[in-house]
Symmetry: C2
């Protein structure tokens, strides 16, 4: 381990992973602020990624932390159908942080950022008791095709892109077995450690919305379907089927039999998979399902106040709230 003795050391690590120049940066890192070229609306999202609250260093490698800290933000842009351009980072390092930790963090961020040619535009560094990341991401939004919540209307189709529940199983596996659990539950652990934001799918849906002048609502599943769906549907209800569980969700439910949740419940309650859940006019659903390989139809939006039914029954439990007592 190489101890950190100055801020400049950290800045050198950052420079090694993220070039200071970028086609969109008129004024780059190193000044009081960056200046980003923009000739249309920008989608902006901020997420905290905090040690103990959101991740544990016991089983998150520094690269995993960097990856996921950025991924959860990119996912917010995906849900708006926006194209990621750059991000800024507030990074607080704990007393035991060494240069290897810092290098791993930025390596993980760079690995995810590279395919999007995402710029690190600036940020701030400090000491703290725990490792804390706060990422703010900017992307180009299409003014005619901003996806979002609260667009559902009765009769619309409800669709899901990607797995749900897998990251929750990954969390349970990693909490109980540490990284050793990756051997038996590789997909679940990977879903928890390295979620893949669905940028391409968000952009496809935005293009479709623009081309067809159609109504599409979209959000990413960060807190679990049970908690996130009411935000997507607003005052309307829905008649839904349980999503098809991943084999590792089935295996985990089986292993915990009697004591735990069913695989279907895990899918509805589980958060942090960062798939996308959406609603669309019935005429669009065929195109959406056929053009996005892991898109499935969950069901149909129903009338005001009719609630959300899963296989005909209301969901039992609520989702995750940092501030609830449960």
């Amino acid at each position: 381990m190489t101890p950190i003795s100055s801020e400049d050391q950290i800045l050198s690590v950052i420079d090694a992973h993220f070039p200071a120049e970028h086609p969109r940066l008129l004024l780059g890192r190193g000044d009081d602020c960056c200046v980003l070229a923009a000739d249309g609306p920008l989608a902006i999202s901020t997420d905290l990624f905090l040690e103990e609250a959101h991740f544990r260093r016991a089983y998150f490698s520094p690269r995993d932390i960097g990856w996921k800290g950025l991924a959860v933000n990119i996912s917010d842009l995906a849900a708006a159908g926006a194209k990621p351009v750059g991000f800024s980072l507030g990074l607080a390092l704990p007393p035991d942080a060494d240069l290897e930790l810092v290098d791993g963090l930025f390596a993980g961020m760079a690995e995810l950022a590279r395919p999007f040619n995402l710029s690190l535009t600036g940020g701030d560094l400090s000491r703290a008791e725990k490792l804390h990341l706060c990422v703010t991401i900017f992307g180009d939004a299409r003014p005619e095709a901003m996806l979002g919540r609260g667009r559902a209307r009765p009769g619309d189709s409800v669709f899901l892109i990607g797995q749900v529940g897998l990251a929750r199983v990954g969390l349970a596996v990693l909490e109980s077995m540490g990284r050793a659990g990756m051997e038996r539950y590789p997909s679940a652990c990977r879903a928890h450690l390295r979620p893949v934001p669905r940028v391409r799918e968000g952009l496809m849906l935005a293009e479709l919305m623009e081309a067809r002048r159609a109504r599409i609502g979209l959000m990413d599943v960060s807190d679990g379907l049970v908690r996130d769906l009411p935000r997507l549907l607003g005052r309307f209800g829905a008649d839904l089927a349980f999503p098809t569980p991943h084999p590792e969700c089935l295996a985990w439910a089986e292993e915990r039999k009697g004591g735990g949740l069913s695989a279907g419940e895990i899918c509805c309650l589980g958060g942090e998979d960062y798939g996308l859940v959406g609603t669309c006019e019935p005429s669009l659903i065929g195109d959406i399902v056929s053009s996005i390989p892991d898109c499935t139809v969950l069901g149909t939006v129903t009338g005001e106040g009719s609630g959300i039914l899963w296989d005909g029954r209301p969901a039992a439990s609520s989702g995750f709230d940092h501030f609830s007592k449960a």
Copy 2:
């Protein structure tokens, strides 16, 4: 004290202080991201404002914390000659946080934000051990008049807008006497608790730069002149006079006589006043000083590698670095 029992409670407090709608917001708070209208370059800055590292609740009221957490960011835009438009907030609350704390935080932010019609565009909430704020601010930059660092040339004038050293005295007073110190050192304590970002002056300088097609360099003084000036001057040196100390700096130096720094040293070393320091072509300095009331000339930029001299002597000490061992 009213305990916090859900995230929705906090969101209601936020809504009470910051309207969800804003002329520049195409998609507002409550979605995965906001969408901000932009038809030109955006200046962006991120700053951490962390309990213990940057402030203590022993003498910062919740309103002070909200004010300063936002002010340090607005100041970065001021230094770029940009006009603040909106900000996002990552807020981590400690276990003892109650609704009154949260209300005070947002009241302080709103008090500062109102004259700028600054929008709170979104953010993220979490639990943590300490009170942590991470603000990212966006503003409209003028492509032809972006101020910044490293523009100085030999012969240019060096100017200072606002006080330096006062916030450092305020910190020392508050650390040793708590809020009781505000009675004898009101300006110093206020400078530390409620710095006023120099947005108007930054915009004036940007306009001047554009109108005269002139060379102006600018930054805000956050870490103290001794540390910040080399960043402004790049490879060049400067021949400077000590800034005129505020009477409370003189009084504090006097009170600590023998044991402490001189008032002049306090001015050069003290950070967190968030004044502006700049360089300009000699032909501009007259206009700048006459149009900005508390602007003073510090001296002249000198040749490469000639170092920075204060009243003919090099400064003794370095500034503040969260990661240095000193």
